[in-house]
Subunit: 185 residues, 2 copies
DNA sequence: CGATACTATATGTACATACATATATAGAAG
DNA sequence: CTTCTATATATGTATGTACATATAGTATCG
């Protein structure tokens, strides 16, 4: 389970409320982690209970009051321990591959329609990530001089872009192969 | 959710017991779907309740009696419908990328150790899949003459191999980049 | 003044899965 | 004759997540 650790990572960048964390997840971390708002508050409650975060109630006049969370020393240790330890391999579960595996129940045309739909989704996400990378690089003068912290973050974004590019290529090759075999038979 | 559909796919190849299904999952489908034995029996119960599979009690003298499941017409329709419909994009959840993203809390050496561990796992799985592919191709004379059904299955295996190859390359590039920046600073 | 949207936190509940464990038959090995 | 392994099915329960919904303060727009 990585959610509480990712929360600690974001909070160590900057103390935030649950509401802000939700926005941060949908902005800076969206390419490798998906969350539901309700998970964040529950995770925050648990982290506080365990002493890994502190709470500070901020009274606001222009908006409802908020609870701003800070990482404690215990929380920083929890984060570091997690960063040092390789995660257990997540279970493989790719339903779309299952659809191809058992696609002898449908015809090539339908299969290709399906694959083109997946290709489209891939391409959409690829475009989003590429655009994000362009925006970031435009704000940076010399790529070689990016501080370590941001270099590592760029690396995860680059992964997202490259893996999507790989998938686009694979879908094209797969569709091409299926088409070739359709016309041949 | 894909599990019941994958069960239907396997059963339409050949009627089987839950015990056999479990083995089939760990053999022919292991590169894209992970199951726990307990899920299979519960899924089978539900599929039967819905009329998508029939049960046949086989009394055995050399082994405990077993229940062999057959796909019904309703089940075949359920499978086909699923095959025709693109799945909702699964949530992105890559904890190891989160570890890299927040790796400014640890040093390069520790990070690289961690990445090498992931690379090792990737390589292990890559070897397994490649060996499986070799074994399959050895049993097939002319690659061009594989029937459609098995061509599609080989395609999913090829995906597994290629995506692992991609990851191996990415890890090497990432580690190389991190090393280069370590020595420079 | 009312409608709408944004900020902010919280809970109820269902689902898929993971992990542990129970139970029982039958063959093989020692 | 006991132990071990394989076959075979089943249930209890915890966990992480998803989806829906509740509540309420504040600001803006017409």
């Amino acid at each position: 389970m990585s959610l509480p650790h990712l929360i600690l990572g974001l909070l160590s960048d900057q103390p935030m409320s649950g509401y802000d964390l939700n926005k941060a997840f949908h902005q800076s971390v969206q390419h490798f982690w998906t969350v539901d708002q309700s998970q964040i508050y529950r995770a925050l409650y648990k982290l506080h209970e365990q002493g890994n975060v502190d709470v500070e109630l901020i009274e606001q006049s222009d908006n409802p009051d908020k609870k701003v969370y800070h990482v404690t020393k215990a929380g920083e240790m929890m984060l570091e321990d997690w960063l040092k330890t390789p995660l257990a391999e997540p279970p493989v579960r790719e339903g779309w591959l299952g659809q191809i595996h058992f696609a002898d129940h449908i015809d090539d045309e339908t299969l290709i329609e399906n694959l083109l739909c997946y290709r489209q989704e891939m391409n959409d996400r690829y475009q989003v990530l590429s655009a994000l990378r362009e925006r970031i690089l435009a704000n940076v003068g010399d790529v070689e001089k990016i501080p370590r912290r941001y270099r590592l973050r760029l690396l995860t974004l680059d992964y997202g872009i490259e893996v999507h590019k790989f998938h686009l290529g694979w879908f094209d090759r797969a569709i091409g192969q299926i088409r070739k075999n359709t016309t041949r038979s």
